[in-house]
Symmetry: C2
Subunit: 144 residues, 2 copies
DNA sequence: GCATATCGTAACAATACTGGTTACATAAAC
DNA sequence: GTTTATGTAACCAGTATTGTTACGATATGC
């Protein structure tokens, strides 16, 4: 195991909402597609609603739907909505500042990690939910 | 907290070895600089030795030293030596394949994660231990 | 050969994160 | 007011990480 599956599941959730465009989709239906518990899905959706990627409605006939067109939602938007700001272990890293190396290494690492993170996020920003949706289609509409 | 501090500590360790170039440095001395337990350092060094970034010697007068010049060691080399292959949660992610979305999303995510990971690693590969060493120097050799 | 320094690694505890589950309050539709 | 569905708290089990103790293996120098 390495890390959590929040991002992967969230992309799946939004892809499912894009697939069911326009409909009100319940957490139970999404959970069935992801094969997990509806509460797990609602926990993620809670974050996605706060990030204004998704809109939810309570009550009979309620459920969730995309807040914007899939073309306007990138994987980076999703990533930022459900993942905490990564610190690459720097909060657990408290070197001895009396040592010349320990005194300076933290700043150096912070700069390096920022570059790496920025580069990764730029790549996520280049992929939209519409792209994901398009890749989904061949199976859903394929003529045999 | 997000993730572990192995990479951060490892960069510190190798920077310390670069700083002490040529000398045999014990795990106890490194642990003092990092402010942790020598066993924690030896655990990391075990991985760094396997990756041939570091050479260790037992016995009296023993310790560790860099296996190559700092210019020939990149942060990506260190990252790969001590971090498991990241899967971005895909091993915990087992969607329902009976659903059209669940059946395809895994491959799509794998491709997207690979692009993001590759981009991040390319950035790490651009930073060498020599670069880190250079950034360390101003404090260590500063004329006051 | 023997004492010493040092690595190598297993074992264990403490802490924290994740995901699944139950439970229940809240809100909307009819 | 009943039903449906979200929102969220609480708890559990599984696992990762770090710190720590312990001890065997190995190399040095006498």
């Amino acid at each position: 195991m390495t890390g959590n599956s929040r991002f992967a599941v969230s992309v799946h959730v939004l892809a499912y909402l894009a697939y069911k465009a326009g409909a009100q989709v319940t957490s139970a239906e999404i959970a069935s597609s992801v094969d997990t518990n509806p509460v797990v899905i609602r926990r993620l959706l809670s974050a996605l609603v706060k990030a204004r990627l998704v809109v939810g409605h309570k009550g009979v006939g309620g459920g969730f739907g995309l807040a914007s067109a899939p073309a306007n939602i990138t994987l980076l938007d999703i990533y930022r909505a459900v993942e905490p700001q990564p610190d690459h272990g720097l909060d657990r890293f408290t070197p001895n500042h009396k040592c010349p190396v320990g005194a300076r290494i933290e700043t150096i690492l912070r700069t390096a990690f920022f570059k790496a993170q920025t580069s990764m996020e730029a790549e996520l920003a280049r992929i939209s939910l519409e792209d994901v949706h398009q890749q989904l289609k061949p199976v859903c509409t394929g003529k045999h």
